[in-house]
Symmetry: C2
Subunit: 467 residues, 2 copies
Amino acid sequence: MDIIETLRGIVGSTHVLTGADAAPFAQDWTGAYRGEPICAVRPADTGEVAAVVKAAAAAGIAVVPVAGNTGLMGGTHAPGRIALSLERMNRIREIREGARIAIVEAGVVLTQLHEAADQHGLVFPLTFGAKGSARIGGVLGTNAGGSNVLRYGNTRALCLGLEVVMPDGQVLNTMSELMKDNSGYDLRDMFIGAEGTLGIVTAAVMRLHPKPLAYATAMVAVPSVADALGLLNRLQSATGGAVEAFEYMPRSYFEGWTKREPDKRPPFETTYDHAIMVEVGATAPRDATPNETGEIPIQAYLEEVLGEMIEAGTALDATVARSEAQRREIWERREIAGELSLGAGPFVLTDVSVPLDRVEPFLDRAYAALEADDPDVRHLLVSHLGDGNLHLTVWPSDGDDGYERVMEIVEDIVQEMGGSFSAEHGIGLGKRGAMARRKDKVALEVMGKIKAALDPQGIMNPGKVLP
Amino acid sequence: MDIIETLRGIVGSTHVLTGADAAPFAQDWTGAYRGEPICAVRPADTGEVAAVVKAAAAAGIAVVPVAGNTGLMGGTHAPGRIALSLERMNRIREIREGARIAIVEAGVVLTQLHEAADQHGLVFPLTFGAKGSARIGGVLGTNAGGSNVLRYGNTRALCLGLEVVMPDGQVLNTMSELMKDNSGYDLRDMFIGAEGTLGIVTAAVMRLHPKPLAYATAMVAVPSVADALGLLNRLQSATGGAVEAFEYMPRSYFEGWTKREPDKRPPFETTYDHAIMVEVGATAPRDATPNETGEIPIQAYLEEVLGEMIEAGTALDATVARSEAQRREIWERREIAGELSLGAGPFVLTDVSVPLDRVEPFLDRAYAALEADDPDVRHLLVSHLGDGNLHLTVWPSDGDDGYERVMEIVEDIVQEMGGSFSAEHGIGLGKRGAMARRKDKVALEVMGKIKAALDPQGIMNPGKVLP
């Protein structure tokens, strides 16, 4: 029997898409990775996912799981394969307020979980620009990070349990809801970040956190990255570690932003070389309750630190959000970073991390090396500075031909500084070269053995992650 | 060549112990697991560990890594095997205050790391009774928990990178110092908690945290477990999540304690049915700086909550530590829990976790089921209540014959309540039966495949963890 017919028998004809109907699965969000799948199949539940995987395995056809398809590294590229979309599995099965957990299916959209948690007075703190389309399956597959990792950790730190369809179609159930569970090898963390190459995550138990009672949010211009890190340290000390987001946007970022959003209000009248978006969250009532002068303490702490730094010349300018609307405006300027990297010809998107004290020397050296290599190079930087995570988008003047060369220039400096060539976007197709060049050889061998042991037929998202 | 001679050639004669010299490696701390190793070998560095593993693999002899040998489940049992002691690899290679990391060898003792972090104004927050002898290699091997998991997470949450000698003697280097590092499968978490069955951890990058500026510590008697959880919730809300430890000790605990420590001062004049040890840590200056009446705010918050609960009858009695000596006294009563479980004949040590709202029904049912099974049964409970983690030690009247029966009685109830039969002690030998009975069958199959792929010869701590 033809595989398409078999799949129709499992999920129903309307949920097996081919030809033009499957077009959304023939390219990724960035447009950099294109290729037509045999079909896209949209199972309704875990049982159907398992049946699809079994059918694919029997036919010897590879399966590529697709969640929101917002990844940046081509992890969902599925030419000649079955694209397995998790979009119909979008139920939040349960939120348990007392236990602070959400039991979700892999197709749940990130903002859907944000809103559901909010209704219970809780937060699911993971957030990034693509939150309105990214789905939990992809968030888990890439161990997504974003802007609140500084306080709450990455996806790994927010997941307690998983349900996974294995490459042989069996269903692995480790849906633990417990803070302590040492019953054998940690399979959960092996699947998180494996980009669907070891199995398909179909459901998860995610941790929720108490919603901060008040926020203080500001844009701050500083003379240097070192001064920015000084601000971070002072705020962490003053608030006992309440900094939620600490995002760095230099001049190149605001130049790109002004071009794309000419009608929007910039954060300052002047464009400074170095700007920071900072947000602090109050979790204790005493920090959120207005004092006798009507000030909210968490905002007063922020303003006090900023005032002292401006006085001392270690900060140049600052605007503090006075309303939720102003806070949203500040966040939106940051959340559009993905869009700023697109639409201007072939680009190289790097996603590196270095120890905090090496961010400034890394940037100095990377800019110099890129410009020495290619005097006409253009670049744009945005950074989760609190995590030492830098996204430097580079447009080499020779377009796609420059891809691996630019990658290598950046990787060389990252490696010397004890950093990682992949911080939060994953490997997909885009960084397989970097994996081959930079990853510990024994680690690669161990990863290869795990892949071969769990997917001997090589049908789960082949060609991704491993070089 | 004889394996002993080969090992002498690698580490030097004085570091290959046999016969009476190897006696400390012929039994575990509890005395429950006995068996003579061929020899105990004490390598000086990672290169020597790798050479020992290669020699053992060539000879087809199994290797059992031993760190502090304080585990409770027999994970270091090494009859007829080579016991590989990490005790000489006890250097703290580096503490980087700004990055808040410690780079340590696997033989570093937990208190040694505590003291070193303290000298830098930081804490390594993991702590438990055996802290003076447990070593980092064992802490990582079991993904150890303890009393501060509530605020800081377990070992997994405190480790950024690992160095591991693989079963073939190759050295895996994933000594990342980064908060974000998504370069391929998460091998780190696979080795953490694997009890040396997949390789030998020789060094690690551990996270340090800012040292709280002040503590508030108290013993509180409550009418019920439900009231204890009410206290936890109120304190977390009042302090914005600053509860560091929340330990439950019922009447059975203090009866055992009084027998063992007849000359020490009990926490209350009366022995109550339910007592809690609570500690709150202030990380922000405003919570640690005495106010106009000389009170330290973090202590005032605790006393206010306790006062209101005593008024309302939801707490019965409380003593708050007024000095570091009083704080130490409170902690010591809790840290002797391990000793209280020994010395009274064959026992069954359970280490289970259940969702917080099921702790009380779990205990009611477990006590009833054990007493229905064996009217002469004795038991003693201590619990990391904030994590839903319960250690119920049971002395069945039929001694060792009752081991699996008692385990099964407890497991039945845990499983019905969505709990885990293993929370923080690991599996070792003691819970292989439970693994076979309770763990998801697909998960067991996946674990078996990983073990076979990485250790095809089966020489790394065989017979542990997997049933």
